[in-house]
Every structure is written in structure tokens, then in C-alpha cells.
């Protein structure tokens, strides 16, 4: 665990950088505050190298810190529901051991945006914004796909050393 603390710190820093980059990318699909989900790369890497507990911990701490640094209370709320749903989907799929990193990451990306959208609909008490589901889920798919390929390469190359 002692060794892990240093790694967790590094991952957290990496996740915060991703959050910052993400906050600079305009991504408006009718719902302000919805994020692309680039930080999922850190969750995927952690899930496959250190473990589920560590992945969850870094994910939650990252969301709260990033919310205070680059966001607002709403972005914390969105990110939390997106992050939780995404983590759950990836955790369950990984445990089946039937799918590769890419697919697990895509599921994470899609569920990340689903979670954000559900929270947005609850916050504004208007379910018509669910109209943006197809576009948002496709965006989540594409983000998750590229994150998955990147993570896969990282895990295959240096995964055993982390």
C-alpha cells in the first residue's frame, strides 16, 4: 500500500490534468456542464493495474477537486453521477473477463454520458433534454474507444511495471 500511495498521487495529478484539458474543450449539446469524459483514461488504467478500490478512490477525489478548481457545483453533480455509472459499468464488465480493455472503456464512455444526462434532466426537471441522448452517447462511444485503444497500449507495454 505504501508504494501505491505514490502511484495514486501520480494518477490523481494525471486525472486533474485531463479535467483541465476537458474544461477547455467546448462541448455544448443543449446541456451546459456536460463533459467529454477524457479522465476515464485514468480510471481504466487504474482498474487494470492497481485495482478497483484505487480506481474508485482516485475517480471520486478527482471529481471533487476538479469541480472546485475548474467547475461549479453542477459540474460536480454531473461528474459524480457520470463517474459512478461509468465506474460501475466498467467494473462489472471487466469482472466478466469476456471483453478487452477497448470494449470496457467504450462502455465507460457511454455510461459516463448517460449518467450526466440523467442528472441534468433531474436538475432542470425537464426530460425533453433527453432528446440529445443519441448524440451524447455516440460522443461517449467515440471518446471511450480512443481512450480504450490508448489504455490498451499502455497496459500491454508497461502495465506489469505499474
Amino acid at each position: 500500500m505504501k508504494r501505491n500511495v505514490a502511484y495514486l498521487g501520480m494518477y490523481l495529478a494525471l486525472a486533474l490534468i485531463c479535467s483541465y484539458v476537458e474544461s477547455l474543450i467546448p462541448f455544448y449539446f443543449g446541456i451546459p456542464g456536460v463533459k467529454l469524459g477524457l479522465t476515464n483514461i485514468v480510471v481504466v488504467l487504474l482498474l487494470y493495474t492497481l485495482g478497483a478500490k484505487e480506481a474508485f478512490l482516485v475517480s471520486v477525489v478527482r471529481i471533487i477537486l476538479a469541480g472546485f478548481l475548474f467547475g461549479n457545483p453542477f459540474s460536480i453533480l454531473y461528474s459524480l453521477s457520470g463517474g459512478a455509472l461509468s465506474f460501475l459499468a466498467m467494473y462489472v464488465l471487466k469482472r466478466t473477463e469476456k471483453l478487452k480493455v477497448v470494449t470496457v472503456s467504450v462502455a465507460g464512455g457511454v455510461m459516463h454520458n448517460t449518467g450526466q444526462l440523467i442528472m441534468a434532466a433531474l436538475v432542470v426537471e425537464n426530460y425533453h433534454i433527453l432528446y440529445y441522448i443519441p448524440v451524447l452517447l455516440t460522443a461517449g462511444f467515440i471518446t471511450g474507444f480512443f481512450i480504450g485503444i490508448l489504455s490498451q497500449e499502455i497496459i500491454l507495454r508497461i502495465g506489469n511495471r505499474i
Binding site: 455544448y28 443543449g30 478487452k100 426537471e125 432528446y131
Partner: protein
């Protein structure tokens, strides 16, 4: 190939992607120039305004203007807002049925509804 991409992965990804792309294309085709906007505040309908007529709408809460919506050439655009993030102001104007502008901090939703008939579409452009 094997370590990166299994057969199951390929099938799952291909099916999900096909469904999503189909849904995107389907909704894109369904998009028609809207007829009016429904403005809601705190989850309740505040006002309905036709897109036909150019006008400026002040959205008020307890007598104070919180958002200003501009309707011009068949499009609705959030011109001003009292919210801290101003994301609603930065959003592109909406005109197609089903599109919306959301101001989360003020809990304002502007949603395009209905379908404009006949030559209104050409007027809008």
C-alpha cells in the same frame, strides 16, 4: 490482434455503434424548423413564444430579470443571463424542433417545439 481485440469485442462494439449511428441519423432527419419555444422556469412552463416574430423576451423571477432570450429570424438565442457560468449565452441559437437551451443555475429551459408549416421555413432563412 488477440490481446487487443477479441471476437466478442468486435461484435459488441459493431452492434452498439450501428445502433447509435442509426439513432443519430434518425433524429437528424426528424429535425424540422420549430414553430414556437416553450420557456420553463423551475420545471414549470413560464411562457410560450412563437418563433415567427422577432422579439426580445425577459425571463423574470420574483420581478428580477434573470435571462433575456432573443428571437430573430426563426431562431432563439440566449442574449443575457445572470448565471455565473454564462454557458447558456455561449450556446448556439436553436431553431429545430426538439432543440433546447438550458441555464442550469437559473433553472431555465428553452425548448423548441412544433413544426413550422409551408413557407415559414424560407422566411426563417
Amino acid at each position: 490482434m488477440n490481446r487487443r481485440f477479441g471476437k466478442t469485442d468486435f461484435i459488441v462494439l459493431a452492434v452498439v455503434f450501428a445502433v447509435l449511428v442509426f439513432a443519430v441519423i434518425f433524429t437528424a432527419f426528424k429535425r424540422k424548423q420549430g414553430e414556437f419555444v416553450v420557456i420553463s422556469l423551475d420545471g414549470e412552463v413560464y411562457r410560450e413564444v412563437p418563433l415567427e416574430k422577432d422579439q426580445e423576451i425577459e425571463i423574470k423571477k420574483e420581478g428580477i430579470t434573470i435571462n433575456v432570450l432573443d428571437i430573430r429570424e426563426g431562431k432563439a438565442d440566449m442574449r443575457k443571463a445572470s448565471c455565473p457560468d454564462k454557458l447558456c449565452v455561449r450556446q448556439k441559437p436553436v431553431s429545430k424542433s426538439g432543440e433546447s437551451i438550458v441555464c442550469l443555475p437559473n433553472k431555465v429551459v428553452v425548448e423548441v417545439k412544433g413544426e413550422a408549416k409551408g413557407d415559414f421555413d424560407s422566411i426563417a432563412r
